[in-house]
Subunit: 174 residues, 2 copies
């Protein structure tokens, strides 16, 4: 009977630590995607092999992806804009999304609520480039009824989802 209680306790602790461990790994990699498994394991006192296993799982289920984030300004993109698109008739939505996805200038593409249907954020070299993109690649698409373009004039913050906020909820894994 006493033995049973003991087992229950370890089980409980482990299942809490499980998710907590993933959070800690994610948090460290979020800041520095090249941090070695060895360093991570030292930081949170778990065996290197465990970190590696967890890492592989997190990568495979798409929870995290390690990427090099390139600063657009440094490589010559000086016109960052938000293009809102109104589609009429709405039956064109799917084909428009398909076509827009292909455009290399588009860095973010989503279906939005509000008076427009689609938001497409684009990174262009300059106003000329943006202008040509709009005229030759977007306005020509069948179903594009109206657009509204606004420039991002100064960027104050670009951040990752805050894991501390996520931890408050019960971590529903997809």
């Amino acid at each position: 009977m006493f033995y049973f209680l003991f087992l229950w306790q370890t089980t409980n602790n482990m299942s809490v630590l499980n998710d907590e461990l993933d959070y800690q790994i994610l948090k460290l990699l979020q800041k520095d995607g090249r941090m070695s498994f060895t360093e991570i394991s030292k930081e949170i006192n778990v065996a290197v092999s465990t970190i590696r296993h967890r890492y592989i799982n997190l990568i495979e289920d798409g929870t995290i992806k390690i990427i090099g984030r390139v600063d657009p300004n440094k490589i010559g993109f000086n016109a960052y804009a938000s293009i809102l698109i109104s589609v009429k008739p709405k039956t064109y939505m799917n084909t428009i999304f398909e076509e827009l996805t292909k455009l290399p200038e588009i860095s973010f593409l989503a279906l939005v609520s509000g008076s427009f249907d689609i938001e497409a954020d684009v990174m262009c070299r300059d106003m000329e480039h943006l202008n040509v993109l709009l005229a030759d690649k977007i306005h020509v698409l069948e179903g594009v009824f109206d657009t509204k373009t606004n420039m991002y004039m100064k960027i104050y913050k670009v951040a990752q989802p805050d894991l501390e906020l996520a931890r408050l909820s019960s971590m529903p894994k997809q």
Copy 2:
């Protein structure tokens, strides 16, 4: 005389390959931030030490940053929204940016052209969370005159700046 010509040729090739080399490194790291220097060097036929030097420079001047990009949905963020803010009087702009930058829910914050002044994209757990954020953290700020919130209902694309497009211009390093 013949020797001199030979030298000139190598020089010329090298200087073209210089910027091209940075592009190639950036392109590979953009896709896989954990790719080893060894692997990169094999891919583009340059000594490992060269790749490493270039890498260190690219990191130090902020051209690229290796980060773990966490999928918001996988960790329980189900309300992704765009909040447009109108500021009156405009003298409050600076303090509002300062305050907004602190909010952990905000993943993107920028000064925008158009009928509103500020765009703040937020990642919240759910509608309740978003609602509380708006009411208790944003609407209460002095100078926030009006806001307009739209939900990102489905995300079709999240991409990095396209290096092929950048290569077309003359790579002005900042």
